[in-house]
C-alpha cells in the first residue's frame, strides 16, 4: 500500500550521523536513504529523485558543495533543496556559495530535533513524492 511520505537522502561519510539522522527522520514519518559520499549521493539522486538532501561538506571523492553544484546544473535534480551540515569553525554561510539549491547551512554539533524541524519547514509546500509518482504513472 502506498503511503504519503517525503523521501530524504542523507549524505555523510560518518556512519553515526547517517544513523542518527535516518532514525530521527524515520521516526518523524519520512522515508530515508543514505549515501556515504558525494558520488554515491549524486547517483542515487538521479535515479530516485529524493524530496530533500541533507549533506555533509567534507567527504571523499565529491564533497557536499561539489554535489550541490552537480545537482543544481542537472534539470532532473535542480529543484531538490539541499541542507548542508558543516563542522563548527569551518564557517560557511548560504551566501558564501552561489549554489541556489542550498537552502540552509547548519553547524555541527547539530540538534537532530532542529534538523527535523528544518526539514518539515522546507518541505511544507512540497507534495509527498509517492503521491507524485502515482500521479505520474
Amino acid at each position: 500500500m502506498e503511503t504519503k511520505t517525503h523521501k530524504i537522502l542523507i549524505v555523510d561519510d560518518e556512519a553515526h550521523i547517517l544513523q542518527v539522522l535516518s532514525l530521527k527522520l524515520r521516526n518523524c514519518g519520512y522515508e530515508t536513504a543514505t549515501a556515504v559520499d558525494g558520488e554515491d549521493a549524486l547517483r542515487q539522486a538521479l535515479t530516485d529523485t529524493p524530496d530533500l538532501i541533507i549533506s555533509d561538506v567534507q567527504m571523499p571523492y565529491m564533497n557536499g558543495l561539489e554535489l550541490s553544484n552537480e545537482l543544481s546544473v542537472n534539470a532532473k535534480t535542480a529543484h531538490i533543496p539541499v541542507v548542508i551540515l558543516t563542522a563548527r569553525g569551518h564557517t560557511l554561510e548560504c551566501s558564501d556559495t552561489d549554489i541556489p539549491n542550498i537552502k540552509k547551512v547548519l553547524g555541527k554539533p547539530f540538534s537532530p530535533r532542529g534538523v527535523a524541524e528544518l526539514v518539515a519547514e522546507l518541505l511544507i509546500d512540497v507534495p509527498a513524492s509517492s503521491i507524485c509518482n502515482s500521479e505520474a504513472a
Binding site: 553515526h16 544513523q19 542518527v20 535516518s22 532514525l23 530521527k24 524515520r26 521516526n27 518523524c28 514519518g29 563548527r88 554539533p109 547539530f110 540538534s111 537532530p112 530535533r113 532542529g114 527535523a116 524541524e117 518539515a120
Partner: protein, 549 residues
C-alpha cells in the same frame, strides 16, 4: 508529526513483528511450521491458516507443550521430539539474552503423517475433513522422516540467527536513539557554552539555559531561582522560568523558594510518584542545586514531565545536572565580574573625587556630569552598554586636570595666556593617562574632545560637527550645564532657565543642535539631588542652587 521528547517508539515493536512474520514465511517455504507457546498462553500461530489451526488443535501436541513449556522457556538447545507418527517438534527460546515466558516451536510434518494412527483423531479435533486435509498436506510436499534431524538442526541455526539479528537490530536502533539524545545534549551544551561570555547580562544566560533545556527535555517548565539577593541586579531573587504554557510565576516563585531550604549540595531531588514534590510540581520533577564554591546559591527545577513515560530518565537527570554545573560556574564568573566592575568604578570615582576636591567649587562635578551624560545618551537612543560607557567617560572627563598646577586651577580672577594654555592641556593629559587602560579605549575620544565646539572653534584639535565623537558631544553639554549651574571661583551660579537659554543660544555653534534639543528637555531632578548632596557635604560653599521661577 511530533518532534523532540524521548519516546520509546512503537517503531521497534512493529519492526520486530514484521521480521517475525518474514521468518515464519521463510520457514514455511522449506516445510517447517513455526508456532509459539507461553507459560500462560495456549499454543498459537502469529499468522494462522488451515495448517496452523490443525496443529494448534492437535491434542498430543497440546499435551506435550503443556507438560514441557516451562523447561522449554528456560533451556536452549533442546532435542527434536516426536509427538506422534509423522509429527515432530523442536522447541526454541524466543530470546537468547532475556528470559521470557514464551518459546517458539518448529513443527515438522513428514510424509508419514497422514498414514499415522492419530491422523483421524487430529482431523476430528479440528472438525476437518480427512480427505481434504490429506490433499492439503500432500500439496505442501512434506519432508521424509529421515530428513527431520537435519531440518531440525537447520531450523535451530536459522532460529538462532534470526533472534541474534533481531537483537542486533534492536541494539543498533537503541544506540541510534541514545546517540540522537547525545547529539541533542551536545548541541545544547555547545549553545550554552558559547553564550557564557555574556557576564554583563546574567539574566540572558539564565533565560537561555532554561529555554534550551525546555526544548530538549519533555517538561512543562524549567526554572532557576537564585539566593544571591541583589548581588546580580538581574535576575536578582526573581524566578526565571521557561515554559510553553502560561504560568502563575508568583505562586511558583513561592513554591520554588521553599525548595531552597531543603536542597543539599550535590544531590538531585527526584519526585518519586507520591511525595510532596510530585504533589506540588507534578510527576518526575527534578530539583538540582546550583553551587558556588560548594555552597547552594540556587536551584534548577524541571517540573511536571510530559508525555506517556512520566518517570525521570537518566538523560533528564544528566542534562539537568550538567546545566546546573554550568550555571554555577557562570554565576560565579558573573559575581566576580560584578565585583571587579564595582572596584573599577569605585577606583575611578575615588580618583575623580580627589581631583574635584582640590577645588571646593567643583566638588561632585564629575559625578554630576556622568549622570547627565548618561541621561542624555539614553535620550539619544543609545543602548545600555553604550550609555554605561558614556557614564564612565563623563566621570573621567576632567581627569587630566591632575596635570594642571593647582595655582592655575584655583586662581581667582583672570588667567594669563600661559595659564589658560596650561588649563587647555587637560583633555590631552587625561587621554594620555587613560590610554594605558584597555577598558578605556572606547571612551578616550570623549575625554580628548569634550572641549571641541560644533563649529570647530574648540580645542585641542579644532574638529567640527560629526567629526567630534558622539560621546564628546554628549559630555560637552553636560559639562557646560553643570559648570554654569554651579558657583565658580570667578562667578556665581546662574538660574536654571538662563543656563538652558544660553545652551540653546549656542546650539549649532558650540553644541550639536539635535543633542541640545534633547538636553534641554531632560529631567534634572536627579541631578539636583546630587547637587544638594554635594553642597551639603561641603558647607563652606553656600547653597546656590537656583530654580527658575
Amino acid at each position: 508529526m511530533q518532534f523532540g521528547g524521548r519516546v520509546k517508539t512503537q517503531h521497534t515493536a512493529t519492526y520486530s513483528q514484521q521480521a517475525n512474520d518474514a521468518f515464519e514465511l521463510q520457514m514455511r517455504a522449506v516445510g517447517i511450521v513455526v508456532l509459539h507457546a507461553g507459560l500462560h498462553e495456549k499454543i498459537a500461530a502469529s499468522t494462522p491458516d488451515w495448517f496452523t489451526d490443525l496443529l494448534c488443535k492437535t491434542p498430543m501436541l497440546q499435551r506435550i507443550v503443556q507438560a514441557n513449556v516451562r523447561t522449554w522457556t528456560e533451556e536452549n538447545n533442546m532435542q527434536c521430539t516426536q509427538v506422534c507418527t509423522g509429527l515432530w517438534v523442536a522447541p526454541m527460546q524466543t530470546s537468547g539474552r532475556r528470559r521470557t515466558s514464551e518459546c517458539g516451536i518448529g513443527v515438522f510434518v513428514t510424509d508419514e503423517f497422514c498414514d499415522g494412527e492419530s491422523f483421524h483423531a487430529i482431523c476430528q479435533a479440528s472438525n476437518a475433513d480427512v480427505t481434504m486435509i490429506r490433499d492439503l498436506i500432500a500439496s505442501t510436499n512434506p519432508m521424509s522422516t529421515k530428513d527431520v534431524a537435519r531440518m531440525a538442526s537447520l531450523f535451530q541455526m536459522a532460529w538462532n540467527a534470526s533472534v541474534q539479528n533481531e537483537e542486533s537490530k534492536t541494539t543498533v536502533e537503541s544506540v541510534g536513539q541514545e546517540l540522537a539524545d547525545s547529539y541533542e545534549e551536545i548541541s545544547m551544551l555547545y549553545t550554552m557554552t558559547s553564550s557564557m561570555n555574556s557576564v554583563n547580562h546574567p539574566e540572558r544566560f539564565i533565560e537561555l539555559a532554561c529555554s534550551e533545556l525546555l526544548q530538549t527535555l519533555p517538561y512543562e517548565w524549567i526554572g532557576v531561582q537564585l539566593t544571591i539577593g541583589d548581588r546580580l541586579p538581574k535576575p536578582g531573587d526573581k524566578l526565571v522560568v521557561a515554559s510553553n504554557e502560561q504560568l502563575q510565576t508568583e505562586e511558583l516563585q513561592q513554591s520554588v523558594s521553599s525548595l531552597l531550604m531543603t536542597v543539599e549540595p550535590g544531590k538531585t531531588q527526584i519526585a518519586n510518584g507520591d511525595d510532596a514534590l510530585t504533589l506540588e510540581f507534578g510527576p518526575a520533577t527534578l530539583v538540582e542545586p546550583i553551587l558556588k564554591e560548594g555552597a547552594v546559591v540556587g536551584v534548577l527545577v524541571a517540573a511536571n514531565k510530559q508525555g506517556e513515560d512520566n518517570s525521570a530518565s537518566s538523560v533528564d537527570i544528566k542534562l539537568l545536572s550538567a546545566t546546573a554545573a554550568q550555571l554555577g560556574i557562570f554565576i560565579e564568573n558573573a559575581l566576580l565580574y560584578e565585583d571587579l566592575n564595582a572596584t573599577f568604578l569605585g577606583t575611578l570615582e575615588a580618583l575623580t573625587n580627589s581631583i574635584d576636591a582640590k577645588d571646593k567649587y567643583t566638588c561632585g562635578h564629575s559625578q554630576r556630569v556622568a549622570l547627565l551624560t548618561a541621561q542624555l545618551a539614553t535620550a539619544a537612543g543609545l543602548d545600555p552598554d553604550q550609555v554605561n560607557r558614556c557614564r564612565i567617560a563623563g566621570l573621567v572627563h576632567d581627569i587630566g586636570k591632575i596635570g594642571v598646577p593647582e595655582s592655575v586651577l584655583l586662581k581667582k580672577g583672570g588667567l594669563t595666556d600661559d595659564e589658560f594654555a596650561s588649563i587647555q592641556k587637560h583633555p590631552e593629559i587625561g587621554a594620555k593617562i587613560l590610554q594605558e587602560i584597555p577598558q578605556m579605549e572606547d571612551i578616550l575620544g570623549g575625554v580628548l574632545h569634550h572641549h571641541e565646539k560644533y563649529d570647530g572653534s574648540g580645542y585641542p584639535h579644532g574638529i567640527a560637527g560629526e567629526d567630534i565623537p558622539m560621546i564628546a558631544r554628549l559630555i560637552s553639554l553636560a559639562d557646560t550645564f553643570d559648570a554654569m549651574s554651579s558657583t565658580r571661583t570667578y562667578r556665581n551660579a546662574m538660574t536654571r532657565q538662563s543656563v538652558l537659554d544660553e545652551l540653546s543660544r549656542v546650539s549649532g555653534t558650540q553644541f550639536d543642535p539635535e543633542l541640545t534639543d534633547l538636553f534641554v528637555k531632560l529631567d534634572f531632578s536627579e541631578w539636583e539631588m546630587l547637587m544638594i548632596d554635594h553642597q551639603s557635604s561641603n558647607k563652606e560653599v553656600p547653597i546656590t542652587l537656583k530654580e527658575a521661577s
